[in-house]
């Protein structure tokens, strides 16, 4: 008996001594994780009152403008959460804000890992787990947009259905599975609800645990300099310093999200109104993290494509092939880079972005392209504000999609080169023997 206790004690003491390097950019992943905690907590509360039924009832809640209007049970229950339940509105808005921050933190975290080369061996598998988490977060968020069954959510579902039918050959079957029949089947919400509330959060949770377990086993990366070596991790021990900092960040993230939930209106379903299969909202935009696909759907040229005797539906390239390609590049990057540079060694010391000009420039150009597409996702509204026609806006964004990433890539590359050259010059001045500042 004592030996078990002793062993447990020893394990705990060892865990407490685990060292975590500190850098502000390492907090991005933690912010993502804590946003996920907030999502689960607020989501549990919402799930108590949500009703995934598409049965049409007259609205009978306290929001007078919709009194007596025909709405679905699902919409009614979301209105009920918003207007009748204690703190319902705050919890719902916090949930939505947390989703936006969750994906934003994931993307920034992935960018940090990318630009510092933290994805290199031995962390290539963990990079792929992270990319999977990012994709899962976006898909889960999409189903979350559908659930309120307001006009925007119903339009999102329509577009989701169009994605599904555009899948090569088995598309109609995929759509049939996801939407419980052709679009408009009342069973649809049950499927989306099961995916959004049970299946995908559990899958995200499992991948998150695997991600953290690998970070624990493989130890965290850190920046070099100050005599740091690949063999020793330097930072703060798990207990007390690191846990205090992480706990503090958890409180901070929850505080900011609850603050936004309480004070800043988001997803006003009562303004969108209930779903009507023959209407669409104008302007209609999805949440920000789907904006890059939305932009691609708007500005990619319509081409009449026939592949091996199959006529291809128009959203296929922008809506299916393009996002799949983006994720394929993300998955493959660590392997491709190792192959191209011949560097297959393990690395625990991070790169400074400037020291890898090609990777940094490529990443910057990629982010620039996605940002252009994200902005193109609301080009009708921008055209309205600028007084430009939609055709002009589309052409402008097509040009921008080529010019902006190319410029960003070239400028980034030359900035990296300049920084390296300046450092080398400063080094040789200080140390004429010619020893480089960095190994």
């Amino acid at each position: 008996m004592t030996s078990v206790v002793q062993r447990g004690r020893a394990a705990a003491e060892k865990a407490f001594r685990k060292v975590f390097p500190g850098h502000w950019s390492f907090l991005l992943g933690e912010i993502a994780m804590f946003s996920f905690f907030v999502l689960v907590a607020t989501g549990l509360y919402l799930s108590l009152f949500y009703d995934a039924s598409a049965e049409i009832v007259p609205y009978d809640g306290s929001y007078a403008q919709l009194a007596g209007v025909s709405v679905s049970q699902a919409f009614q229950s979301v209105m009920d959460i918003t207007f009748e339940r204690p703190l319902g509105s705050v919890v719902r808005q916090t949930h939505h804000w947390a989703a936006l921050v969750f994906v934003a933190a994931l993307v920034l975290h992935a960018a940090r890992v990318f630009f510092t080369g933290a994805f290199r061996r031995p962390r290539r598998l963990n990079w792929m787990i992270g990319v999977t988490l990012m994709g899962l977060a976006m898909v889960t968020g999409f189903f979350g947009l559908v659930l309120p069954h307001d006009l925007l959510g119903g339009t999102s579902a329509r577009i989701g259905h169009a994605f599904a039918v555009s899948v090569p050959v088995i598309g109609p079957g995929v759509a049939d599975l996801l939407f419980a029949g052709p679009f408009g089947n009342p069973q649809m919400l049950h499927r989306m609800w099961m995916l959004h509330v049970v299946i995908l959060p559990i899958v995200i949770g499992l991948f998150l645990v695997a991600h953290l377990a690998l970070v624990w086993v493989q130890t965290h990366t850190m920046f070099g300099g100050n005599g740091r070596t690949e063999q020793v991790v330097e930072g703060s021990a798990a207990w007390p310093a690191y846990l205090f900092k992480a706990g503090g960040l958890l409180a901070l993230v929850s505080g900011v999200l609850v603050g936004f939930g309480a004070l800043v209106q988001i997803a006003p379903v009562w303004i969108h109104g209930p779903f009507d299969p023959a209407s669409t909202t104008v302007p209609a935009q999805p949440d920000w993290y789907l904006g890059w696909v939305e932009g691609a759907l708007r500005i990619f040229p319509a081409v009449d494509l026939t592949v091996m005797g199959w006529a291809i539906p128009s959203p296929f390239i922008a809506g299916v092939a393009f996002p799949v390609a983006v994720f394929a590049v993300l998955y493959a990057w660590p392997l491709a880079e190792a192959k191209l540079t011949g560097d297959t060694a393990s690395h625990h010391i991070l790169d400074r972005p400037r020291d890898r000009p090609v990777r940094t420039a490529t990443g910057a150009a990629g982010l620039a392209a996605l940002t252009v597409l994200l902005m193109a996702g609301s080009h009708d509204w921008q055209g309205f504000l600028l007084g430009a026609s939609i055709e002009v806006m589309t052409i402008a964004y097509r040009i921008a999609l080529v010019v902006v990433p190319a410029t960003v890539g070239l400028v980034t590359y030359s900035v990296c080169r300049t920084l390296i050259a300046e450092e080398a010059a400063a080094d040789s001045q200080r140390n004429p023997v010619g020893r480089s500042r960095r190994p």
């Binding site: 705050v90 599975l177 052709p182 900092k245 603050g259 081409v303 005797g309 128009s314």
Partner: protein
């Protein structure tokens, strides 16, 4: 180790914010006030805790030896195998049932419920007289039996007969000056809107495809490429508009289909 001044300031601030949140709740202030104070208390406590974490580290650096790991090819191969198997299982769980139902699902996509002789009704379920559809009028219509409004919805347009492409009349046998098309954009299947009478065009609010309702439903601009499927219409004995059959093509996005054949 002495925590710096800022740690104490944050701690006192956090304590005050917690007390304020508690008092706001106790005084029965509106929930938005209470929640705003709770948020503030959380932020201040977070800052205080982080500050204490820093202070507890006391500027000292902890070190840990990284365990040198061998090539581990055995374990890696196993992980890759497991990952691949997992992805394969998920792909199979989706694609096999999807594949098995492609035929039936395609049939359901094609059949929107329009049949010969079904009357056209507006969103209130009211049948439409051919005489009502004067030039410049526009209706959203559904089959009278109420089947599948999400897929069957159509735009019914009245225009001066000479403005409508002649071939439309021949093709549909439609009454003079009346045409009907699927209301679903052939890009992402959003319901069309924003009818402009002068040009006889509709725009999709989702991704701004433009269709020519007077010219056979052809795409004029934007990301769509297939023309809008036409609904053949006629007039029954009472003068009401009826369908003469289903849409001329699959509505909305469509799907991958062999060029020769359905």
């Amino acid at each position: 180790m002495r925590p710096p001044m800022s740690t104490w300031v944050w701690s006192v601030g956090a304590a005050l914010a917690v007390v304020a949140a508690g008092s706001a709740a106790g005084l029965g202030l509106g929930s938005a006030h209470v929640v705003a104070w709770v948020a503030m208390a959380l932020v201040a406590s977070g800052a205080a805790m982080g500050s204490w974490g820093r202070a507890l580290a006391g500027g000292q650096t902890d070190r840990e030896q990284r365990q040198p790991r061998g090539p581990g090819s055995e374990r890696r191969r196993m992980l890759v195998w497991l990952g691949g198997a997992g992805a394969g299982v998920v792909a199979a769980l989706i694609s096999v049932p999807a594949f098995l139902r492609v035929g039936a699902a395609t049939e359901r996509l094609r059949d929107t419920g329009w049949r010969e002789g079904i009357r056209l009704v507006d969103d209130q379920g009211r049948p439409i007289l051919a005489g009502e559809v004067v030039p410049g009028s526009l209706f959203t219509v559904f089959p009278e039996d109420g089947s599948d409004p999400a897929q069957s919805q159509a735009i019914l347009l009245g225009a001066e007969p000479e403005r409508i492409l002649a071939s439309e009349h021949e093709a549909g046998g439609a009454p003079d000056g009346i045409v009907a098309y699927s209301k679903l954009c052939t890009h992402m299947a959003c319901p069309l809107g924003l009818y402009q009478e002068q040009s006889g065009t509709v725009v999709c609010p989702c991704h701004q495809a433009v269709f020519d309702l007077l010219g056979g439903g052809e795409v004029l601009a934007g990301p769509a490429k297939r023309p809008l499927p036409r609904l053949p219409i006629g007039v029954d004995r009472d003068g009401h508009l009826v369908a003469l059959g289903g849409f001329s093509d699959v509505v909305g996005t469509g799907y991958w289909r062999p060029v020769n054949g359905s």
